[in-house]
């Protein structure tokens, strides 16, 4: 049976302020979905809520992986169950080498029952696999010896997220602007990599402003989010329309959602 991720009627608040106001989104493993929307519409919030960020409070609705509600799970359990978020702004962990971080992460995700202190996957096998994947992504092997995201350029961080995606092989991945901060060549490389790594094997929810990423990963479904709600759903042509013509049509067609979007942006600015 195909794996499914189903988000239904999801309401999320941050510090008591509602951000998502009823998001419905269903995807199957092997599908690629695009999530598009103007700034402040709640795109990143959805990604963080899927992983269970403690500051993102789900006030209504559900997120189900293969019919099981993940809302009661810790971020760790969600990762081990096969959910992944490529962070828009990856976090630096000073003093922790990328390779050590990834070996630990890969072991835990591949062996969800592993307890702290139990064996990690053998160093030789891991190194070989990591080296292979880094070569594939045209990353310098030296990268693995650097500290996680510490002093990385924006582009390096994004490539490191793709490397993690390649190693962890989740069932479903939210890619939050994984192409931002990259130059044109790097975007192409990232797009190709994501297509190779994930397109057939994972369910991908791609948050992007670029056409390149979607060119290599044409979405089966495009979702448009505004004011914390999915206001429109379509095929790849909808994505094309939005990055060619912007959100003016959407904003005028859904004035109520647009008003809420403006309100959320103002709230964020006053914080």
């Amino acid at each position: 049976m195909t794996d499914t991720l189903e988000i239904a009627g999801l309401h999320v608040s941050v510090e008591g302020k509602p951000i998502l106001r009823g998001v419905d989104l269903r995807m199957e493993r092997g599908e690629t979905h695009a999530l598009m929307g103007p700034n402040g519409s709640g795109k990143s919030t959805l990604g963080l809520a899927v992983m269970g960020h403690p500051n993102y409070e789900v006030t209504a609705g559900s997120i189900e992986l293969n019919g099981e509600n993940v809302l009661g799970m810790s971020p760790e359990e969600r990762a081990r169950a096969g959910l992944f978020l490529a962070f828009q702004r990856p976090i630096a962990i000073p003093g922790v080498k990328m390779a050590d971080f990834l070996r630990h992460a890969t072991t835990n995700v591949r062996h969800p029952e592993r307890k702290e202190g139990e064996e990690l996957i053998p160093m030789r096998d891991f190194r070989k696999e990591l080296k292979g994947k880094m070569e594939h992504l045209r990353m310098d092997v030296e990268f693995a010896r650097r500290y996680v995201n510490d002093g990385f350029s924006g582009g390096e961080m994004k490539r490191a997220e793709i490397l993690q995606l390649a190693m962890l092989q989740p069932k479903f991945a939210v890619l939050d602007e994984t192409d931002s901060g990259l130059d044109a060549d790097a975007v192409r490389l990232a797009s190709e990599s994501i297509a190779e790594i994930g397109r057939a094997k994972m369910g991908l929810l791609i948050i992007t402003h670029h056409d390149k990423l979607l060119e290599h990963n044409p979405p089966d479904v495009t979702h448009v989010i505004l004011g914390g709600r999915i206001v429109e759903k379509g095929g790849p042509e909808l994505a094309v329309e939005l990055y060619q013509h912007g959100y003016d049509r959407i904003r005028s067609q859904y004035p109520e959602a647009e008003a809420q979007n403006q309100q959320m942006i103002q709230q964020e600015e006053t914080v």
Partner: protein, 486 residues
Amino acid sequence: MFHGACSLIFESMWARLFNVGVESAPDSIERFTDTDRIAFGCPQFNQKKSMQASAQIAFDDASFSAFLASRQEPEWLATQRRQAWQAFGELDWPNRSHEEWLRTDIRMFGLQRYGLDSSPPESVELPQPQLAAGIELGGATVSLDSSSVKSQCEARWQERGVLFGDLGKLVSAHPEKIQPHLMRRAFDVNYDRFAALHGAWWSGGTLLYVPRGVVVDEPFHAFSAITDGGVDLGHTLVILEEGAEATLLSETASLNPTAGGMHCGGVELVVGAGANLRYVNLQDWATGVWHFSHQKAVLGQDANLQWTIAAMGSRLAKVNQHVGMVGPGANCQVNGVMFAEGRQHLSYHTLQHHEVASCHSDFLYKTALQDRARTVWRGMIKVDPQAQRTDGYQRNDNLLLSTSARADSIPGLEIEADDVRCTHGSTTGKIDEELIFYAMCRGFSRREAVRMIVTGFFQKIFDRITIDSVRQALGLAIARKVREYD
């Protein structure tokens, strides 16, 4: 785990000195022949002695006279001890009106509760040493309650004139090497009452002497342990002559991890011109032990010192760590790793004293605290008027793993020269929750994430430590300590 058991049965040096309960007194100290391999595993001491009930030797005038009489030491040393004992009598215990003791309360400390034990237990299991795993040693010493139970130096180094072993014994055999340095420039018995106590009563301890130009490429290891309520007054003296090189790994431990006791010690590192010393000191006493120590290095021209301090144990530690650069071009790197938990109080006062021109000093202290632990770090870079072209650096970073822990960090500069570069800094903070969330999104449990982040916090220091076994031991010791973090 690291508490591997080694059976150790030995005869008490104190028992022999004080003639209590000893039927015969074969020499049990030099039990290892020069050809023995030194391996940490289980040093066996099979000298069985029968003992009478123990008698503690209090720190008073009568006992001091008996102590002096029993030592049979050269007269210069006896005089030195008498002067220190006199200073002890004239000094008061430090109290919180002294700047150094402002944050460190020792009102619960009572010297009368402690004494040198005339008859340590017949048979004890020593904890497994942590620093020397898997390395070939040039020599090793072990002491228990300030009595030497093992003192050994490989023949190949003895042949080159190296002296390594129990200071208490070597001081009588090689006074010409030791007298010019012992408690001269690197130890001041008048500094405070603890220094005076140590100067009068020091016993056991370790000497490392490396003659001019001799390069010792195998580390030496010194291990000091105490019993519950025991006392360690060991003195460490390292003398590297011109151009010599050596590494000394020293560590302390208690037989029982929650036991009490007292260490009142001193460390002197005399590093000659162009000499190169690596010195590692792991303090891992039990959580009931009072630890007082005065430690000083004196660096000659173009001398190099890498000094790594790890403070893990004790109930309360008050340490003065001082590096005096007295020869131009001297260079020192000091690494401090502290982990405090429970109700531990660790107080470290560092002084990097640039007495002459063109020296370089680099002090980095990193501290993690959990539970209700408290640390004090007070650092000073002192630059004398003639010490131009000084390059001094000091930094202290503190990571708070609980809301009840407290770290006081007081960096300081005292600069009297005008052509210098001195920088200092200190940070204190908690773990950012976003780091934990990020790691958890990659399948780490919260606890695994915290452990990894704390280890990462210390990594910058570990990267500076050039001895693999030390880096690994300290990494493991820290990882073991990290608990839940809320």
